[in-house]
Symmetry: C2
Subunit: 237 residues, 2 copies
DNA sequence: TGATGGCTCAATGTATACAATAAAACAAGC
DNA sequence: GCTTGTTTTATTGTATACATTGAGCCATCA
């Protein structure tokens, strides 16, 4: 069942680089799909065991994930899946507003039939996943949809930013989202493709803005305070 | 003269983390200030010698720089300072247009006397550096100015993006810029602070747009083809 | 019974040793 | 004399061993 086995097997012939890349994506996907929940500890030994490489390679991967803010590296304490704060959540969604909406005119200009069909297919698979209760898959397809659109802008740098922001958004949804309630059968993504295919960048931008605002508004932004130590912080500070 | 010595000395008492951070900044600064030119090879042994730590730490730092696109990591060939392509240059400046201009309204709203004074001081030091012929210092101060403004927006995520983009811009200027001709005594930065302090986000945004366009327009976008192998590529492709 | 002190253990930080590979130097042949 | 094949060397890739440190546990004492 675990795809770690698949990675391990295919690694025997693959070059080291692809192996590392595969492991990186396995961990990254597990985080984005919320199979690894925020706060989960990622021990180097354990990961090294699971994937069949030494801690050296694992550390490299953890550092990369840390730079993308998907895992938090606490000195001498190791790695854990990042638990985004409310402030970070706001930053991420504000950044998505600015970048993704700003990209819409470019995307609309470069959108062709083939691209529109690909996007519609992604949106369709996302809806199917939601209907089938495959939440992990739906989360990942939703993120992929946004990333793919950003890539169609032709700006690889901004697309990479969007990819990072979408990954972090999944984490945010895991912490602050209502379980089961995400996007929920909405046809937002289909509508968006329509505006883009019509070459209407302005309208697509406005729609994307509403779309992102709707997602953000569906979150319940209550920072769960830590279990006990508030007294220490109050008097210590 | 070399600040590597300073890093090495101060490291004896500092904790490992700060040491690594200092080394990272030393290398990063050297790249941004164009003391390490695009294409320069960065051998692990050599860096390990210079900074007095083992290759393990150096590799960590190089990987971080690679994710920021400041160095390029070629498998089995090692690290070298990234030589941006013309396409990448366009992406970077387009991204700066979108993000930095989009940030202006927020910055204008949050700008106070203290912040304005700080920015004016940075702009002043930049002009002085230019007048004194201290090109390296001027480049770095100019990048710092843009980064500081982005930080004033209050969005740490977008500020980090801008920081990365500004570093890459320095690299782009090193490759495609006319030597000696950068910003050149212009008072753009001072003017920008004026608009921001007046709370005029719209005007600041338009001005930033022109400012960035001017920088980009000053570049000569000629991709120097590689020394010999064009024949092979022509017939091989 | 609860808290504090020391002790043990587990997990990370760092360096180094070894293996693999690509570049370079050199030699041989056309 | 230039090209091509081989050997050598230099440099990176990987794993592992050792040092360091934070956390959990237990015993002791109030």
């Amino acid at each position: 069942m675990s795809n770690a086995q698949a990675v391990k097997r295919s690694a025997s012939k693959a070059e080291g680089d692809e192996r590392h890349e595969a492991i990186y994506r396995a961990v990254s996907d597990a985080i984005v799909e919320q199979r690894l929940k925020p706060g989960a500890r990622l021990r180097e030994d354990a990961l090294a065991d699971v994937f069949g490489i030494s801690r050296t390679g694992i550390r490299k991967i953890l550092q990369r994930l840390a730079l993308e803010q998907l895992v938090t590296l606490t000195p001498r304490r190791g790695a854990s899946v990042t638990r985004p704060t409310a402030d970070e959540a706001k930053d991420v969604f504000d950044a998505r507003q600015l970048i993704e909406c700003g990209l819409m005119p470019d995307v609309a200009r470069r959108m062709g039939e083939k691209e529109a069909a690909e996007l519609r297919d992604m949106a369709k698979r996302e809806r199917q996943a939601l209907r089938n209760g495959e939440q992990s898959l739906a989360i990942r397809l939703s993120a992929d949809f946004h990333v793919r659109i950003a890539q169609l802008s032709g700006n690889a740098t901004l697309a990479a930013f969007v990819e990072s922001l979408c990954s972090r958004s999944s984490l945010i949804l895991a912490v602050y989202g209502h379980p089961g309630h995400l996007g929920c059968e909405s046809h937002d993504h289909d509508d968006l493709v329509g505006y883009l295919e019509a070459g209407n960048g302005e309208r697509a931008s406005a729609f994307m803005s509403r779309h992102l605002k709707a997602i953000e508004a569906s979150l319940s932004m209550v920072e769960e305070e830590e279990s006990a130590p508030d007294l220490h912080q109050i008097f210590g500070g």
